[in-house]
Assembly symmetry: C2
Homo-oligomer: 282 residues x 2
Amino acid sequence: MQVIKSIEKMAAFSKKAITQNKVLGFVPTMGYLHEGHLSLVKKAKKECDLVIISIFVNPAQFGPKEDLAAYPRDFRRDLKLLGPLKPDVVFKPDPSAVYPGDYHTYVQIEGGLTKKLCGSFRPAHFKGVTTIVAKLFNIVRPDKAYFGQKDAQQCVVIKKMVKDLNFPVEVIALPTVREKDGLALSSRNTYLTPEERKKAPVLYKTLRLAEKMILTGERNCAKVEQAMKKNLALVKGLEIQYAVVVDAGSLERKKIVSGNVLLALAVKLGATRLIDNIIMEL
Amino acid sequence: MQVIKSIEKMAAFSKKAITQNKVLGFVPTMGYLHEGHLSLVKKAKKECDLVIISIFVNPAQFGPKEDLAAYPRDFRRDLKLLGPLKPDVVFKPDPSAVYPGDYHTYVQIEGGLTKKLCGSFRPAHFKGVTTIVAKLFNIVRPDKAYFGQKDAQQCVVIKKMVKDLNFPVEVIALPTVREKDGLALSSRNTYLTPEERKKAPVLYKTLRLAEKMILTGERNCAKVEQAMKKNLALVKGLEIQYAVVVDAGSLERKKIVSGNVLLALAVKLGATRLIDNIIMEL
């Protein structure tokens, strides 16, 4: 496992690997790794000849009032967690090299996809995501890139960018990894106070409640959404951002539950924003 | 020389070539080829193992009132001109495959670079250019890409996009090819009436006049610009869009002629928009 900090060295590594006909797997992360990230690395190790994991807290995807400065960082801890998995490269570029002072180019999906759900609460977020992922794809030049399904909208957005811009990359979304009580793993869980942590499993419980409603025959999206909101509202100090049933491909709101649906939630627990989701294939 | 129309086949060709460690040269064009394009293909042939030329009239870079429908197209003629140069692939994708109905992703340079000069007269033009070039780079995956210096701002914009988005591509700008009377070759010259064609060499003559002023000691940009405008104004039916002395790297206006400067013109001769430029290194 080698650590590469220079963009030029990373690009040179990948160029060499490509001309040697290696299958490159790529796991882009913002670090402060948890078992969710590690599951992506493990899958990449199984499917690829070489695995590159990037650790970069991307300023472009944080709003001016968001938690860029507070976002947890611990590179030593990350390396310790990665060691046993034996990825080939940990790529940790410097923010000033990724976005030099005269930086001006952005990749953006226009229209609804990036404006809905999380996008309506984080207006420039997905523009930052598509831009950094495009940059990392150009540097690392992977054949396959692995993302966590916890960030459901991010997965849809990146697949759309890859398709529209013809990136020669296969995007693979892997299941959300959870704590025993159901809480989806997230680097941001570290923000939770002990009291908030006790309340946090309500997200997954609410999703399972909605899933059960649908599995037992409910097809009215509004009723499912009402039930989710009602369940979340029982928790003091929890603010609902959205609780919806949408088409898993387009993220469009639905009236009737049918096809592939995404049950998705975003809430604030105190100062911490948490998201979670379930995909159902009907 | 093979013609490839499918994006998937083009991508597969390039993937194979890359794993064989071939140096790929790429000449993106809108077709209706002239000696300017051919000079790019010749250079690419000298410098690369495989040469791919694309022919695609890119709707995204035309404004709603511009000449997309009228833009000259003659694929048979293009193939005849290319034949003797023996490029490996002529890539001619279908517009509906490049921009399917649900297309939504754009690459854009924000800030001044795309708003100045041609950008101030063609507001969405460079967004269309950066988007199609990004897409073509992802499909063709060239090592080197060749552009004509006649489109000076396009060269600067593409170099900026490549740098900002970390495309693993070397962008090479080659000198403008001219008619004997100095008119820069352009597919749009075909629009000119015989009378307009007689007037058209005034662009290059004006640039040479400005160059001469600078070579003989003039350093006041405003004076050089005034002289260019005065010379262009002598031609009836010619409308000046801009006639400027700018920094060749940033395209910023200058007061004093120094460093690398771009002398650049855009005019309308009747219904036809013509551009030309000279770069001077002082």
